[in-house]
Symmetry: D2
Subunit: 391 residues, 4 copies
């Protein structure tokens, strides 16, 4: 097994999402981190490289330098892919530049700022034929994959109802007090006070995870939304709380709510799905259990590591059951699958079904369309608003 | 202590809600069941009376007979109140007749069929000065009372967001199959296939419990609704699934969903409330725990029986903590409080604050207004619809 | 249905266990409380009777008066049974007197003070042929009955291991401080500072519940014990903490621990049983769920009210699933079954299997033998000590 | 930061414990795996090296070759430490050889086969001054560290009682059937049918984790044991089920049970500790929560990532709260701390307190003494047996 060589753009050490990407890369030993541009400040970029144990000459002062210099290295040395862990506002330009330079892209979500950027990215991926993986990491959990499998297998019958929720508390505090109290998420918000993001900030930040989870598990697509969004906290310009009624293709209905003002909440992303023949529930904070309910039968708790799980769920499980795996492992599954897609690409073959199971640039475009439809509906006093579909 | 004498109308033995009312009456030893009209069939009424251990002469063939004959008994023998456990369609006429006959009323929810009936009931209660208690039994749970107290005390700061949910599975099955399989709820539905109820059946049946819980806990009132309702199951005429966005007075927003097609669910009514300073969660199926979350602090689990609970919560708790109380006990608290209101009425004094804490006819009218607004919004493609207010 | 008429001895209103017995009697409407001697002080006995709504002439100043006077009433008026809710030290004399007066007995646990008293009770019950029910109320829970059924049906294969635990915190505090702080259990302990009870106070108070639960669920009998017991809290003379290794008939092994010094605990009696083919777990504080684990299969949560439960479990369930029942309901099932045994006795027939499922005087004697064996083992530096068997 | 270079002995890819060690090494990017002898078969050793992406010349056919060849490499290339993931029976010889060759050792538990080997290892570590870290990985969990901190800070008062439990089901099946059904753990058992291990196999395999956890959290030491052990499954020679009463220094008492025949269980290692002023509970399968109970107060759930946690707990947490970390992360904390000890050793300084918090060779010796005392007690019909103390 040759390790895939990756260059990291953004994601400086010590920041949550940067650390998550880095550990996710390293966990399975299939990827090597060999270059980085963690900061546009050359001093800081160098310092970060030392912390990461990188060769000094591969700690670049700008992402453009990274792409250029790496492209100039011999094929067996240069990076094969970039990990795009930059702020939302530069997701698209960085990814486009990387694709044009011939590098595969593993990209943090949301895909970009708007549907126009999303279109450009879809086109670039199609034109270059390169691998593009979007780190909707929650779909890397084994019991999410098992939930998807249960639905696909018909265990629940036709799906009628979906409730997906993502209440967080990071933006609950009024801004100045948050600073005084050192609240990380609020500080982050302050630093870029009205941060550049999609038109619904709450949907872009966390609602896309919820939407992706709902669609991944059910295999359905959100067709229409009826949304009520609000900044809630005085002084915020962008929404921090989104309530959305859903209509999905095939007639299922549902609810998505995402909130950053749910004071005291951690990260309890959760989904419930009900079909004609039963229901399931999965909760991110107890990710190794999947509840399955069928009328008249005992509740079943399917567990990560269970012999009864699908091949996809098993492939996303590293330890025997009862040895809890978590967020980093699920994230690592996205990276590992992407690495295997890249290895398959190098070999000129199609990746196997398990490796191919990574959120794509087309998924990212659809999710940007959902974000925009939510923003449109909220702006139109919660009028039902269609989500545009792409071939 | 004199026991309050009650006559039961409807609520035949063996039916869920009849049994619940009867056990709730008896539990605390403050009420005596002395008369009944459990069936309009004289044979069945007599048989039911025997099962309940009643004197044969007080097992009446019609509710009119019951009211007339009891009114003719000497004051120290005759019933003081009726328990109205009839089908929704006759809630109002039975209650009105009882009030006019001079009897207090303890009434199953929903209050009645529509706002016009509700107005008549409010008027009759005002005119007679009699006690009227509506059995929104979930507000009888001690930790619901503690939740209300926490919000009222400002422990969460100003309330920003409420999510109340009530997914049940009783109507999930297609109708004919349900009959074949002996599904109780579906049979019930079949027996009165398009049963006479309010315009949103799902809201009337269970959504009113959710709405009452949300308002009871937060002290806020639902001002506007944006609803999407659906029968879901082919062959049903009335809705069985209701998704509702909420706007409450004071600016809080929220979600209410009630469903009777959530296959495999039991009775997981639950509420979450978030304010500026924290959040709380209560779940009916684990009713003795109340979760309290404050940013930066350990999660607190308040428990029924805890010394730290409010007087109202303590009064609704019969056993030391760790000795679980449940549905019947919460229901009994409504009955006990109503009995104490009746005793106070007899003594010509006002009931104390704890006894007075029973859902009123005015609450019932407001909840009928919510039901109708939901039906209106759903009929208007989810347009935001105001809930009329009464002074 | 005629209600069974009961006289209450001990169990004054406001005390936990008195309230529990009284509500348990009343819940199902099959029993009438018609006489009482709640206190040996005539004033207090009268006052208690008023609170309970009893006829003044049937509020007796002593239990002897109660037995004598009731026996003198016409058969259709006099009590049929007593509820013996006296302190442990007088359990036996009160029960013996009641049996001799021709009354059935429903008795709080433990049966009595020692094995000699237990023998006398067994003899008296045999000689009189009267009904004797011991309120090991935890065996009244539906999911405990379902657990017993699963084991009996062979679902777990041969039983290999049992862990039963009962950690409470009531006696954790040093005594004087507890008084100052109004701790109920500690006060109770103080009132009878070195209270008269069996030789292992902790086993008598709560350990018998654990032992009864273990044997009821597994159908096995504790054969030998190896125990380490300790007062723990300075100033206590009797043990408050018991650790016991178990050997059961048929070769299963296990652990029983009971503690009254587990500071902060409520009432988390719990049992786990493992056999060749799987394991189960039940917890009193979430009593409506029974966990069943089989190697290689999803965990099953069986729920009170589930259509798949046994007839015994269903008979002990009053509400549809998801409507939690608790401690009082389980206690009431013991009373209801006892009432039905008494009704069968009056009719000269054997009770049906479900009614007959109440802990017996012979069970009480065996449990006293377990208590004494634990005390003996603890006194012998944890030597394995046999529990005597009775034919 | 220079990465610590490690050579892996044993732990072939695909085997649970090998994978755990390897991912634990890699996760934090502070360690490089550069050499291995995963098999004594040269072909297999080479193949494993390829899977791991190692240089072919550093995939050695024997551990002796590895030690010799690596020692001959220039200091900046050669390994600094070995990871000893061999079978129990060769733990000691491999570790001794590595220490003698000048390499630090990170060793899987149990330390070795018996107390004599343990003494030799303690001496070798003392004589060489090298780092020796024993992977009692459960003490790497942040909430275990927080539990230790709470006890040390006096939050529970003097400790009175400990219950630590480790029921697994891997050896529940009769041996031949297990093979037929492909049960991994049973196969493993079969392959070395009466596997070479310490005198109590169950204690060596899993009981040492439980004992270490109890002592790590409480800061107390197990002084005496009273044990009942049993193979349970016909055909096994070694015990698979251990019930142990504990007496700890300072007067606390407790229970440890470890079982490999608890059919259907996964890996629910758990601990409860009670002191004068409260109790705590931690469960490995929901590792990010620590329950704290104090009489008269709400239950507190302390959560990994909470701002209120100790420095040690925070250092063992990589993600914000609500982003679950698990078994691999806890294991990685042991490796990361060991790596930092090695880095400090190289720098000639003492490691900081957080890095120094790794189970030591002396801990391993004490735990071997506990294992032997349990075996002795079980052989002596559960006589209380002292655990020898060192220095």
């Amino acid at each position: 097994m040759d390790r895939i060589r990756i260059g990291l753009i953004g994601g400086k050490p010590g920041a949550f999402i940067g650390d998550a990407h880095r550990m996710a890369m390293l966990l399975d030993g299939e990827i090597e981190l060999v270059a980085a541009c963690c900061s546009s400040d050359p001093e800081r970029a160098r310092a970060a490289g030392v912390v990461l144990g990188l060769a000094p000459e591969r700690c670049y002062p700008s992402y453009q330098d990274l792409l250029r210099a790496e492209a100039a290295l011999p094929p067996e040395q240069r990076i094969q892919a970039i990990a795009n862990v930059t702020p939302n506002a530069v997701h698209a330009p960085v990814a486009l530049a990387a694709l044009r330079a011939g590098f595969h892209v593993i990209a943090d979500k949301p895909l970009c700022m708007d549907l126009a950027e999303a279109e450009a990215l879809v086109t670039a991926v199609r034109d270059t034929g390169l691998v593009f993986a979007l780190t909707h990491n929650y779909s890397g959990y084994p019991m999410v994959k098992q939930a998807r499998e249960l639905v696909a297998s018909g265990a629940l019958g036709a799906i009628r109802k979906v409730v997906v929720e993502y209440p967080q508390g990071g933006l609950a505090r009024a801004l100045p007090r948050a600073v005084a109290q050192g609240d990380l998420a609020a500080l982050e918000a302050l630093r870029v006070p009205q941060k550049r993001t999609a038109r619904s900030a709450c949907m872009a930040d966390i609602g896309t995870h919820a939407a992706q989870l709902a669609e991944y598990v059910t295999g359905l697509s959100i067709d229409q939304v009826c949304a009520d969004c609000d900044p809630v906290v005085p002084g915020r310009e962008l929404d921090a709380d989104a309530h959305v009624l859903l209509r999905l293709n095939g007639g299922a209905r549902g609810i998505l709510f995402a909130s950053q003002i749910a004071a005291g909440e951690e990260n309890p992303l959760a989904i419930r799905v009900w079909g004609e023949a039963g229901g399931l529930r999965w909760r991110q904070m107890e990710p190794n259990t999947l509840e399955l309910r069928k009328p008249g039968e005992p509740i079943q708790l399917l567990r990560a590591g269970g012999a009864y799980n699908s091949a996809a769920a098993k492939a996303a499980t590293r330890m025997p059951n009862g040895h809890p795996e978590g967020y980093i492992e699920a994230f690592a599954t996205i990276y590992r699958n992407a690495a295997r897609c890249i290895r398959a690409h190098a070999a000129g073959v199609a990746p196997d079904a398990i490796a191919a199971d990574v959120p794509s640039v087309a998924d990212g475009r659809h999710l940007m369309a959902v974000v925009e439809a939510v923003a449109d509906s909220a702006a139109a006093n919660s009028a039902w608003t269609p989500v545009p579909r792409f071939d």
